[in-house]
């Protein structure tokens, strides 16, 4: 009996050792990377060497993966390696963005260094949704005015030109008005922390990647990219289709407190860009949103606002001027001009010292434009790279009142028939 027991025990031991050896043989040979930014070895490329570089500003050989994504840098088991990742596939979600993208040398620097992106983005009207919340609460008599008091998350700033320095978190369960409750339940789908609606045209990430990761094709006819949430890319070349994953996708029905999705899904740019009810000019659909709207309009300027009208300020006259005034320009004499940095991120133009570009009323560079020697202007599409030439209003046959810059006023003469 003892002999049988000894044989069984020996056999078990051998089986255990063979199993261990087999498991060991299955382990991948680690591919080590020690990025200069962290100086710590990480093995992520063992499995992820096929991923495309996320952007020219974030080369994997310099940044590695862990500084942004988190995770267990030395683990070779997928579950263990991914167990402490920040934000799952998306480290730019606002719940983790400070740890992922922050840092004085990265995206939570100072306003002076133009790199306070996280502070600006998280206080922006697209993140707080404060305007929509205030508007609904005012409409249904819950608050006396349109001033923002609540946001998607609580946030405060040391000072704010709007006078609003703090927002409490909006909690539909705390609301007593049934319409506001219904709004909270059904209409909070388009802020930067909201998960997208189901459907290919709504696919986007949250946080920074909602805009900066191109989950949508550049236009509906393009085969350049398919709609996907499985993409490793950050860009400032943001197509209108990415903006339209939230904007121009439907209308709020306040009577039923529902969001009525746009039913038409045209494949051509002219009909797809805006909803059928909208009027627009030629440049409004041939260009992409980011060709005109600036970084502070989209990402905020660090102040808390009650409505997007407080932060959006680009008008027709910004580029075209008025009957009496030419659009504002700036000749680039400072090598540290923000225009150069923005042009580097999306090199559709080759800006040089001495070039004269258009600037907004707040001095923001429209770095993809150029004032030409013959008094006309050039704009290069940040997505399409298409070159547009245009003239100032001054000296033209336009009889506009330069004070009125409402879209309806300009559209009287310049709307496009669809």
């Amino acid at each position: 009996m003892r002999r049988y027991f000894l044989l069984a025990a020996s056999f078990s031991l051998l089986l255990s050792l063979l199993t261990a050896a087999w498991q060991e043989s299955l382990r991948p040979k680690p591919i080590a990377l020690t990025p200069p930014l962290t100086g710590q070895v990480e093995y992520c490329l063992t499995c992820h060497s096929d991923l495309p570089q996320i952007s020219n500003s974030h080369p994997v050989q310099t940044f590695g993966c862990v500084v942004c994504h988190g995770g267990e840098r030395l683990a070779l088991n997928a579950n263990l390696a991914h167990s402490t990742m920040r934000g799952g596939k998306n480290p730019s979600d606002f719940s983790v963005v400070q740890a992922s993208c922050g840092g004085a040398n990265c995206h939570s620097g100072t306003a002076e260094s133009y790199s306070n992106h996280i502070q600006r983005a998280t206080t922006s009207i697209q993140a707080t949704y404060a305007g929509a919340i205030a508007s609904i609460r005012y409409t249904f008599g819950v608050q006396a005015d349109l001033k923002a008091r609540l946001g998607i998350f609580a946030i405060q700033v040391p000072q704010s030109t709007s006078g609003i320095t703090a927002l409490e978190a909006f909690d539909p369960a705390q609301e007593t008005n049934p319409f506001v409750q219904a709004f909270g339940q059904t209409c909070l789908t388009c802020h930067l922390s909201a998960l997208p609606l189901p459907g290919s045209v709504y696919i986007r990430f949250t946080g920074c990647s909602a805009c900066h990761t191109p989950t949508q094709s550049p236009d509906r006819t393009s085969t350049e990219q398919v709609q996907s949430n499985n993409i490793h890319k950050l860009t400032t070349s943001i197509a209108y289709t990415q903006c339209d994953s939230c904007h121009n996708r439907g209308n709020y029905d306040l009577r039923n407190m529902t969001f009525e999705l746009r039913q038409d899904l045209p494949a051509d740019r002219l009909h797809d860009f805006y909803q059928p009810i909208a009027q627009f000019t030629s440049c409004e659909w041939k260009l992409d949103c980011v060709d005109c709207h600036t970084r502070t309009e989209a990402m905020g300027d660090g102040n808390l606002y009650s409505t997007k009208k407080d932060i959006q300020y680009i008008q027709c006259k910004t580029c075209h001027g008025t009957l009496t005034d030419l659009p504002q320009t700036r000749t680039l004499t400072d090598p540290n001009d923000l225009a150069f940095r923005l042009a580097l991120l999306n090199p559709v133009v080759d800006l040089k010292l001495g070039d004269t570009i258009l600037v907004t009323e707040k001095g923001e560079p429209l770095w993809n434009t150029l004032a030409l020697p013959d008094g006309t202007y050039q704009l290069v599409g940040k997505v399409t790279r298409q070159v547009f030439l245009f003239k100032p209003v001054r000296g033209s046959g336009c009889t506009q009142n330069g004070v009125d810059q409402s879209s309806a006023y300009c559209h009287t003469c310049h709307s496009v028939e669809r």
């Binding site: 002999r3 049988y4 000894l6 044989l7 020996s10 056999f11 031991l13 051998l14 050792l17 063979l18 261990a20 050896a21 080590a32 020690t34 990025p35 200069p36 930014l37 070895v41 020219n56 500003s57 974030h58 080369p59 050989q61 310099t62 940044f63 040398n105 990265c106 260094s113 790199s115 090598p335 540290n336 150069f340 940095r341 580097l344």
Partner: protein
């Protein structure tokens, strides 16, 4: 021809011995591999560039493994690090100096910042010619 048969006891004994031997060898192999585990090598700080005569006066040689730019002038050898002092990207050597492809920092030929976001000059590296006339660049 002998007519020996293996008794059940002998068979069990032999089988146990064989299995234990195989287990022992397998265990030893595991132990050997464990004891010979290679840790990640430390980053090199001393780079032997070979004979100094390979770098004649006037030569400007990009050394991608360091990365650095080795310059041989009348006053001797000098080396400047090509690691951007902003976030560590490798800067490109240009006629007018150095340019970082990641965030646009610019440096003059001496490595001083001419455009941010970097705010520190490129590091100057120590260059040494050893007794065997080999050129060494030190990054520490």
């Amino acid at each position: 021809m002998s007519n020996r048969t293996l008794s059940r006891r002998d068979f069990l004994k032999l089988a146990s011995a064989a299995i234990l031997t195989a287990s022992g060898l397998l265990g030893l192999e595991g132990l050997f591999r464990f004891l010979n585990t290679q840790t990640e090598p430390l980053a090199l700080t001393d780079f032997d560039l070979g004979p100094a005569s390979n770098y004649p006066p006037g030569a400007r040689t990009v050394l991608p493994d360091i990365p650095a730019l080795l310059v041989h002038t009348e006053s001797g050898f000098s080396a400047i690090s090509l690691v951007c002092t902003h976030l560590g990207c490798t800067v490109e050597s240009k006629p007018e100096g150095f340019a970082c492809p990641c965030h646009g920092s610019r440096f003059n030929p001496q490595g001083k910042v001419t455009r941010g976001p970097a705010n520190k000059p490129l590091h100057t590296l120590r260059v040494e010619v050893t007794n065997d006339d080999h050129l060494h660049v030190h990054t520490d």
